[in-house]
């Protein structure tokens, strides 16, 4: 008889905030610049310098807290988290601490899995500063890049005990969280560049147990795929340890994406003592009701609410609604198309099939597509009024995607307009009939399905500029006369 184990997963997410300047000084936050070029005496922790908080960063965290249904503290207090490391210029990180002082507490985020909604509790949302980056090139030599030191960082931690019990739920949580952050425009959500970092802690316990198992924390997860694979691996590993009579060790483990295994990084035998105390250089920030309300007014419609609306208002499927709302820019693109008169289902098909395929091929974000909602609306109108056929439209789509020219202008310039001259089509139909006596004979003999072949021949002769429906009608008429 084998025990069933239930995993419990806590999620700790760090999101770099989208601000022009760092948390406590005026340096740029840009990623990828030459090492130690976006630094100043303040973020290098030179003696005598002082931190002045970035109001924009505070607002980003307040807006996130509101979007995650948190209680927002009336006063935000900064603390010092003290520890020594070469990438930490001041010997302490300015952060927030405890259960009262973080900007947001007691929130939740809703996920949807297999058509069911579930609330994932959020324990806290707080603001802190990032550290520099350490590089070890040669033995005995290390280099530090402080460009990242002082970049504003938001920490979002799920409730304890955890509400998440599978890798799938963890993935959904992260997908929804990332969508919310990008909708709020507080984080670009790029896991590969490290602007969104996820450190899950994982434990397993027998299904009938009231207590949680010993947890491990997983690091180095740089994509959604790693998060899912890492958690799945870790759950299986822990179950195997327990099944073989062993005990899970509380530790931090790294994840190897290439090898698809986790490995021990450091054990947490004792809790590091960070000696938190209130940061005396920063006066606590009052978050007034007025400020809060003005920020609440800036919250956009969030992904799940949007998807609901798409289903109800536009009659889209669950799948379509989800795909369209996963990214703010995609949803915005879709809504602009609809606003320009494109029928929602049609807009959805073009966006999720044709446009998405080309964006994937060219690795472009939808916001940089040369084929804009105006182009798409123009194209769809050309089909609708019978100017072009669906086949031509697809060819045009490619061209417009590359050139950014208006479809109606291309059509006009090239004479691609659909042949609506009845007589010209009738002439073409007669020609095809004359050229294919065998087929005509089959048709006459009762095998009427061969008309499809004849339609194809007419379409070919007219370079696709004919309306196939009308061609078929004309062919029937002409065949009657043979």
């Amino acid at each position: 008889m084998s025990t069933h184990y239930r995993p419990s997963i806590g999620m700790e997410v760090h999101a770099q905030l989208l601000t022009e300047s760092k948390m406590f000084c005026g340096c740029a936050t840009r990623f990828g610049d030459r090492p130690n070029t976006n630094v100043c005496p303040i973020c290098l922790g030179l003696p005598g310098t002082l931190p002045v908080p970035n109001r924009k960063a505070v607002e980003h965290v307040i807006r996130t807290a509101l979007a995650l249904n948190c209680r927002v503290a009336p006063i935000a207090v900064f603390y010092r988290k003290n520890y020594f490391y070469p990438d930490l210029p001041k010997g302490y990180q300015i952060s927030q601490y405890g259960e009262i002082h973080p900007i947001g507490t007691h929130g939740y985020l809703e996920i949807e899995l297999n058509g069911e909604r579930k609330r994932i509790g959020i324990r806290r949302v707080h603001l802190e500063e990032d550290t520099g980056k350490l590089f070890h090139y040669l033995p005995g030599e290390s280099e530090v890049d402080y460009n990242r030191a002082g970049v504003p960082l938001m920490e979002i931690v799920t409730e304890f005990p955890p509400d998440i019990h599978s890798a799938e739920e963890a993935r959904e949580y992260l997908v929804q969280l990332r969508a919310i952050l990008t909708y709020l425009k507080v984080c670009d959500g790029k896991m590969e560049e490290g602007s969104l970092r996820c450190e899950p802690n994982i434990s397993v316990a027998p299904e009938d147990s009231n207590t949680l198992g010993v947890k491990t924390e997983l690091k180095n997860l740089n994509s959604f795929r790693s998060v899912v694979r890492g958690i799945e691996f870790e759950v299986q590993r822990q179950i195997q340890v327990l099944e073989s009579g062993g005990q899970v060790v509380q530790e931090t483990r790294g994840w190897s994406e290439e090898g698809a295994y986790s490995f021990p990084m450091r054990t947490k035998e004792f809790e590091q003592d960070y000696r938190y105390f209130p940061e005396p250089d920063i006066v606590p920030i009052q978050i007034t009701e007025e400020w809060l309300e003005s920020l609440r007014a800036t919250l956009p419609e969030l992904p799940l609410a949007k998807a609901d609306r798409y289903r109800k208002e536009y009659g889209l499927s669950d799948y379509d609604a989800k795909v369209l709302t996963a990214e703010y820019d995609t949803a915005e693109y879709f809504e602009r198309c609809v606003a320009l008169g494109v029928e929602p289902k049609t807009a959805c098909n073009w966006i999720t099939v044709e446009l998405q395929a080309r964006l994937n091929e060219t690795n472009l974000p939808i916001s940089q597509s040369r084929l804009t909602p105006a182009h798409l609306a123009d194209l769809v109108a050309l089909i609708k009024n019978g100017t072009i056929t669906g086949r031509i439209a697809k060819e045009l789509f490619d061209e417009v995607f590359q050139s950014g020219e208006m479809p109606s202008q291309i059509v006009q310039a090239r004479g691609m307009v659909q042949i609506s001259d009845e007589e010209a089509l009738r002439v073409a139909a007669r020609q095809v009939i004359a050229e294919n006596p065998d087929t005509v004979e089959k048709y006459k003999g009762g095998k009427t399905s061969v008309i499809g072949f004849l339609v194809g021949q007419v379409m070919r002769a007219t370079q696709g500029r004919a309306n196939p429906q009308r061609v078929q009608e004309l062919l029937r008429e002409e065949l009657e006369r043979v």
């Binding site: 002082l50 002045v52 020594f84 000696r275 938190y276 105390f277 920063i282």
Partner: protein, 488 residues
């Protein structure tokens, strides 16, 4: 009279009238420095070349008709204030080679006003001490008796003013570090209200207590200096947006109806009877001028020292964490890996007093001890503030001694840390409450200066200075104080 002996306000008049030139004045001060500083040892870095250049520039501005309060005035700066391009050591081995690429806000303000920088002044390492004996580099002497300490931690700043090697200086005060040396050296020293002066560029000891202030020959000079360095600074989130008056204008020798509170606790055990006598005489002289004197009680003042020696080391243990050998300053043990290097650098770079305070502070913040020490001290601090608030509903200023004794002998208290720390028992509560505090000389005792401390309401430096000025006028000690006996 020789120029270096004159006060800032006297020199201001002479410069503005064109009776003397800025280079001439700077020359006089540098000459005095060359003569007496080898004995006093107030300066860690003398910047005579820079001073000549700045004096020349000041002279040009004077000739163009500019009239600003500090234009052409030779000023010395405590070595924990960052000066762009000038070595700033905090009197510590760990920063022995540190040249800041930026100016402290107060230094920028002095530059803008055309002050002349004559050098950087000795102090206790990282401003931790009461005698300047804890400097990693040299021991500064008291100009009244070269065998005695000048007080600390701004001992260099006080000794330079007393020995006329600067017309005025800047110091910093975390628990008495401006007022106590001012009292020991017979000069005027002011710790402004917390938030009045920007701390940007002041190398932090205890951030919630540190405040920059002037040391001068007279109260009037002090008022001029305070106006020059005050004001809100967007680079210091704790600096307060309060209007900065021209403090000189508030100086009237007028105390009629002024309510002076005399806290019983400031005349308790440990205060030398002779000191108490001088201070009581001073208070009485103001009473004779029409001030009302009330005995008051601030019981929490007696807990001040205990509260301070939890909070200040706690903050210092964190503030000094950045000196790790990674980015600037001393680096020792590069071959030991980064953690080994940090340990070796800090062990070698910090003096014993600093290390002791880092250890105490680390302990006070450690989990399991935080509530019993740090949190309790914070609560005590709040209570102390409330007591000050209550008393200030009844009186305009508080008065008592600045320090319990006059200057002690060099080496006398080094082996007795508690006695050394008691030297600040009367000044520390003022920092904890964030109030302005002024020390004005109120006579000599066995040939050594004694300081009268005047404590005011938050941001009411104007009243504090006015009372100090009234006393100074009445006491008529200035001529005697001009000539410290140790240099005779």
């Amino acid at each position: 009279m020789e120029l270096h002996l004159k006060t800032l306000s006297e020199l201001r008049t002479l410069l503005d009238r064109g009776e003397i030139s800025a280079p001439e004045l700077t020359e006089a001060v540098l000459n005095q420095m060359a003569q007496v500083d080898p004995k006093v040892q107030a300066y860690l870095t003398q910047t005579s070349d820079l001073a000549h250049l700045m004096a020349q520039q000041a002279q040009e501005r004077l000739q163009q008709g500019e009239r600003t309060p500090l234009l052409g005035i030779p000023i010395g700066i405590k070595d924990n204030l960052c000066t762009a391009g000038i070595r700033t050591t905090c009197a510590s081995k760990i920063l022995h080679n540190f040249v800041p690429p930026y100016d402290a806000t107060v230094v920028l303000k002095l530059r803008a006003q055309g002050a002349v920088f004559v050098g950087k002044l000795n102090m206790d390492e990282f401003a931790m001490g009461s005698s300047t004996e804890f400097s990693a580099f040299q021991v500064t002497r008291n100009p009244w008796d070269l065998e005695r300490v000048p007080g600390g931690s701004s001992g260099g700043s006080a000794a330079a003013v007393a020995s006329h090697t600067a017309i005025a200086t800047l110091g910093s005060d975390t628990g008495g570090s401006i007022r106590q040396p001012a009292a020991f050296c017979g000069v005027v020293g002011l710790k402004p209200t917390y938030g009045r002066v920007s701390r940007y560029g002041l190398i932090a000891y205890a951030s919630s207590l540190d405040q920059i202030g002037p040391l001068t020959k007279t109260v009037e000079d002090c008022a001029i200096m305070l106006s020059a360095i005050s004001g809100h600074d967007p680079r210091d989130a704790t600096s307060v947006n309060q209007p900065v008056p021209d403090f000189r204008k508030s100086l009237r020798p007028e105390v009629k109806g002024l309510k002076i509170g005399v806290p019983r606790e400031m005349f308790g055990q440990g205060v030398h009877p002779e000191v108490a006598l001088r201070v009581r005489d001073a208070i009485q002289s103001l009473e004779e001028e029409g001030a009302e004197v009330h005995e008051v009680s601030i019981p929490m003042m007696e807990q001040g020292l205990a509260i301070y020696y939890i909070l200040a080391p706690a903050e210092c243990s964190s503030n000094l964490a950045r000196y790790d050998g990674v980015r600037y300053g001393l680096r020792v043990g590069a071959e030991k890996g980064h953690i080994g290097m940090m340990e070796a650098t800090r062990a070698e770079g910090f003096g014993d007093e600093v290390i002791q305070r880092i250890i105490i502070g680390t302990y006070a913040l450690s989990s399991g001890y935080y509530d019993a020490f740090y949190l309790k001290a914070q609560k005590g601090r709040t209570l102390l503030r409330q007591e000050f608030d209550r008393v200030f509903q009844q009186v305009d200023v508080l008065m008592g001694p600045t320090a319990p004794t006059p200057a002690f002998r060099i080496g006398e208290l080094v082996g007795d840390p508690l006695a050394m720390k008691l030297s600040d028992v009367l000044t520390i509560p003022v920092n904890l409450a964030g109030l302005p505090g002024l020390s004005v000389p109120c006579g000599l005792m066995e040939g050594l200066p004694v300081g009268l401390q005047i404590i005011g309401k938050p941001f009411d430096e104007a009243t504090v200075l006015r009372v100090g000025y009234a006393y100074e006028q009445k006491a008529g000690l200035l001529e005697q104080l001009r000539h410290p006996t140790g240099l005779a």
